[in-house]
């Protein structure tokens, strides 16, 4: 047996009966594979999303979705120690931070589920309602309602002092009926 040791401890074992050119070829092939394996990024749980979202015609936002700016008027008023600071406004999406005495305690958002239709699924088995709209708790920090079967209104805690019942209370403060009329 011939043992060849490469830098980094890679060992290939070959039978002495192989002709020289075949040994060279086998080792070269091994090195190419090794180099390729070392330069490629390790597989990630997000590879599929990366591949799908960069395929031809992929889009995260559809043109039929509402302009983010059209959502602003339905957000609740702040006041009594709270401040509302708008943070993102993109097609089909608007988001504001809710601060209490300058500290961020929650995020409030309205999104058009035309851009992410699977978001509606979680409401199908919902037995709870807030202000008459189907509601779900999602994960540890979010409560969401579905308005007009299309617009998702969500409040997310950003501080432990802001509880699930605070989220419910703030969700009910949105102009939900106004939003349900938005076409």
């Amino acid at each position: 047996m011939i043992k060849l040791r490469q830098n980094g401890g890679w060992i290939c074992s070959l039978s002495p009966r192989l002709p020289n050119h075949q040994i060279v070829f086998t080792c070269l092939l091994g090195m190419i594979l090794l180099v390729t394996a070392c330069t490629a990024a390790p597989p990630s749980r997000f590879d599929q999303a990366q591949q799908d979202s960069t395929s031809r015609g992929a889009t995260s936002v559809v043109k039929e979705s509402q302009a983010g700016g059209s959502f602003n008027r339905y957000f609740p008023e702040a006041g009594s120690g709270y401040q509302k600071v708008y943070s993102q406004e993109k097609k089909g999406f608007a988001e504001a931070k809710l601060k209490q005495d300058g500290k961020e305690v929650a995020l409030m958002a309205i999104s058009d589920t035309l851009n992410n239709p699977s978001a509606v699924n979680k409401f199908k088995n919902s037995t709870e309602t807030i202000a008459g709209y189907p509601a779900v708790n999602q994960g540890k920090t979010a409560t969401a309602i579905l308005v007009g079967n299309r617009f998702q209104v969500k409040v997310l805690s950003r501080d432990p002092s802001f509880t699930a019942s605070d989220r419910e209370a703030w969700l009910a403060k949105f102009d939900l009926n106004g939003l349900s009329q938005l076409k």
């Binding site: 990630s44 406004e89 993109k90 999406f93 931070k97 994960g139």
Partner: protein, 296 residues
């Protein structure tokens, strides 16, 4: 094709020149910046979610949003990457020369570094500021020339975004230009012709995304932006009693340099760090994840 956002966040360094420099600036905004790296880590930190299915959904949606060019996130990333002109080889060489915990700024390292003339440095400061404004507008979805909205939101800057501004003021303002860096920058802008701006290397790299139809109107936009932000910058400096000496003192925690080489410190850091790209990647990841978790 640009790199996937999750790779960019996963590959953020945990200990290089940029990170050492930013850590040394902690005294400016104590506790505001921790070097958050890794895409999944960022999801957990931003959303406090631990459920694997939720993390997957949030990450997937964030990736879709980033890869949709119409959403502006990639333009912002390009701006943050392009305005930094770090020479990574020099950074690596500097780290290799470390003695104990410090990099001695002597000999071979210095021969590769040339301090910028004041005028070029002042223009760099102004252009970087405008890059922040334009990137902010791209990320937040407001028109690209919304100077007023940007100035209002500076009051709300925190975490890595505030660290980026702190580093801009310290490393591209106070250190190379001195305590009156705001006046110097303004007078430089007033004495710069569109032609001179057009030949500035930093400007040339990002010119296509600076609002304005030609170099003349871009120069006006840069001037107007600087004028609107100078009050915020001067308050930032005054509130914290920031001086070049105080900053040099903190830099001595990781760099070793003599009094007569102060000029070289700014140039060396300029060449070996990419703090706009580093913290800009962190800002983008945060905004994408905040939107993704609200949309899923």
């Amino acid at each position: 094709m640009s790199k996937p956002i999750f790779e960019l966040v996963d590959n953020l360094p945990t200990n290089n020149m940029t990170v050492m420099m930013l850590k040394s600036l902690d005294f400016v905004i104590p506790g505001q910046w921790n070097n958050l790296v890794g895409f999944e880590n960022t999801i957990r930190e931003v959303t406090a979610e631990t459920d694997q299915e939720m993390i997957q959904q949030i990450g997937d949606r964030a990736i879709w949003l980033y890869n949709d060019k119409s959403q502006g996130y990639q333009k912002a990333m390009w701006l943050y990457q392009t305005v930094d002109s770090a020479d990574s080889a020099l950074g690596t060489a500097a780290l290799a020369n470390k003695v104990g915990n410090k990099i001695p700024l002597v000999g071979g390292l210095l021969t590769k570094v040339t301090p910028n003339p004041d005028k070029a440095q002042a223009l760099d400061l102004c252009i970087k500021l405008v890059v922040e404004l334009v990137a902010f507008c791209q990320i937040n979805g407001i028109p690209g020339d919304s100077i007023g909205d940007f100035v209002t939101s500076l009051a709300d800057y925190s975490g890595e975004s505030l660290m980026r501004m702190a580093a801009l003021i310290c490393v591209d303002g106070l250190i190379p230009l001195g305590p009156d860096f705001i006046l110097k920058a303004q007078s430089t802008l007033n004495n710069t012709s569109p032609k001179e701006l057009g030949s500035n290397s930093t400007f040339k790299q990002v010119q296509e995304l600076i609002p304005g139809n030609n170099t003349n109107s871009q120069l006006s936009f840069i001037g107007e932006s600087f004028d609107s932000v100078k009050g915020w910058m001067s308050n930032f400096v005054e509130d914290r009693n920031l001086t070049p000496n105080a900053i040099f003192g903190k830099f001595q925690g990781f760099l070793e340099f003599s009094e007569n080489k102060l000029d070289y410190v700014a140039a060396f850091l300029d060449m070996t760090t990419n703090y706009y790209e580093h913290t800009g990647t962190q800002t983008l990841a945060r905004r994408l994840i905040e939107r993704a978790v609200a949309e899923i």
